[in-house]
């Protein structure tokens, strides 16, 4: 009975591993992000401030890493949650591709949103 399902769901190590890797990126990146924006800059949140920070190459890297890792981690996390509530076989495949497409779109949108800051 289960044989078919088992074979269909071969793989999974990469997603599992990437969830861990992105978690590490997030924990480092988010700590930095929160400290910089909310602790050091508290009370001084303003367009210029943020723009100035975003122009620094180091923060460009951090923010893009955070954006990518965050999107992946969040979507794959949501996928893991949904898998536990009834997605298997074909619907699992469709879910995965759907979320993948959404992730790419979100990353594109995020980049577009960040763009003016970088070029400002």
């Amino acid at each position: 009975m289960r044989q078919g399902v088992i074979e269909e769901s071969a793989g999974g190590m990469w997603l599992w591993l990437l969830q861990r890797v992105t978690a590490v990126v997030l924990i480092l990146g988010l700590s930095a992000h929160i400290v910089v924006t909310h602790v050091l800059n508290l009370g001084e949140l303003s367009y210029d401030n943020v723009a100035g920070r975003l122009a620094m190459p180091f923060f460009v890297v951090v923010d893009f890493a955070l954006l990518g890792a965050g999107i992946f981690h969040a979507l794959n996390g949501l996928r893991m949650v949904l898998l536990d509530y009834g997605f298997s076989g074909r619907s699992q495949t469709m879910l995965s591709w759907g979320l993948f497409a959404f992730g790419v779109a979100a990353f594109g949108y995020g980049t577009w949103a960040l763009w003016p800051w970088l070029t400002a």
Partner: protein, 132 residues
Amino acid sequence: MSQKDRETANVGAGLWKGAGMWAWLFHRVSGVVLALYLFAHIWVISRGAATGAEGFNTMFETLESPLFIVLDLFLLAAVVYHGLNGIRVLLFDLGVAIRRQKTLFWAVIAASVVIMAVFAYISLSFIASHGA
């Protein structure tokens, strides 16, 4: 399992004795909350690109109202718990301290409380100093 089987399945309570179950549930809930927030966040930031400096600063003002700061605190709690428990899970993945999962859970809770206390102090004094 088919629907009928699920219905005849005997759902009981009292499975909540091990800390691991709570740890997982909080992690899952905070994870989903954060995931949904992330996309809201991207959208908010993108408003900056759309409206330019002026609109952005008005938005920040809204965000610095007490209501949003309190909401922010909840969000922060989710991040802090999820992050710390994430480290707990990562340790298990490295094969470390699996048999001490309960102690680690309480450590995560304790650390979360401390961190949140600090943030709450900073935020509340911010609200106080800026007046309502």
